[in-house]
Symmetry: C2
Subunit: 214 residues, 2 copies
């Protein structure tokens, strides 16, 4: 996985650190939603903002110099906690958990709330594109080879409602280093967006955009 | 704009409420970044989390029953504070500000930090798709007609680095109710992702996915 750094941290410790920070990330995700939906009065908005700035300062007392990046240990456990779609420590991520069910097949179930809105009551079309992009990259790589996205096409059949959604991806065919992936996003009434993409296995081992982290 | 609700709030009051909540949203955005990057010890993570949960409860003391939706007043001022890409009260949004520079031309400058990471050091490919989707929808609609996205194709030339980015969109041509839009996202070295899309003016006034809010 291009750009990932080796760090000799035992898997048990990686798991412990990942779990420790999940409740904090969940609270931040909850705060994003509450900030959009709150109707408390002006003074309370300002008071909460001031206390929040204090909490940010406490977290920033010690921090990484830049983004989280990606790491892996000698046991082949990889972690990428800042990833925008699946990162365990990133409150922007829904987060999405991709389930691989055999060669070239993957799916994910997510629930998208107020923070992912585009047209009133519907998921932002760009958010559906983002989720499909990630699922398809993981479908192409199958957690075992690096691939990078060549092209990606989305066809919008109808609006995607906020709430529970199901994503499915599968490898349609392979031609040389090209992996052709098709995918859908659906609500309880059926498919709302269809997508197809071409993912490429790098010949040199160089991957400008590894699908494993989209 | 499909799904938008009329609310008779004077524009000055809309502007005042929008401005009042911006600093709170900025603080939440800052918290998302700090949560990804912090390296403070376990006890401090738990302590911050507990205080944060208290702040969420204060904001939730009074809130909208669902998502923010969209509203407009009699002076044709529209507001859509929860939008995932441009919403003034949505900490997930970078936020992006789209500048329209004449018929069928629009651009935006954004800075994407740790929260938008995919491959280490690079913007998540799905995030570039999300930003392009929004810009292209606004380019097609030109703030004066509803359009919905039919198809959208992204071609990834190389990885897009985190940091300052420039997006440009323009209408390539129109055929009947179809509006063909092309767009790019660039860093200081040039184009990283190209996109083209077909946006459709609804015949009936019904728009399942208005580009004005993507």
């Amino acid at each position: 996985m291009s750009g990932f750094v080796h760090e000799d941290l035992p898997t048990a410790e990686v798991d412990r650190r990942e779990a420790l920070r999940r409740p904090l990330t969940d609270a931040v995700r909850d705060l994003v939603d509450a900030t959009i939906r709150t109707t408390v009065d002006d003074d309370e908005v300002r008071a909460v903002q001031e206390e929040l700035e204090g909490l940010v300062a406490r977290l920033r007392a010690s921090q990484l110099p830049g983004s989280a990046g990606g790491r892996y240990n000698s046991e082949r456990r990889a972690w990428h906690w800042g990833n925008a779609v699946i990162g365990a420590h990133n409150a922007i991520a829904p987060p999405m958990t991709v389930v691989h069910t055999g060669y070239g097949r993957a799916h994910a179930d997510i629930v998208l709330g107020a923070a992912y809105e585009g047209p009133p009551g519907l998921v932002h079309g760009g958010v559906t594109a983002m989720m499909l992009d990630h699922l398809m990259g993981e479908t192409a790589s199958g957690m075992k080879r690096p691939t990078f996205t060549g092209t990606l096409t989305m066809r919008y059949r109808r609006g995607t409602p906020l709430g529970p959604l199901h994503l499915e991806g599968r490898i349609d065919r392979e031609e040389g280093r090209k992996v052709f992936v098709v995918a859908t996003i659906s609500d309880s009434d059926g498919v709302t967006v269809e997508a197809d993409g071409v993912f490429i296995e790098p010949s040199s081992g160089h991957s400008p955009r590894p699908a494993a982290s989209a």
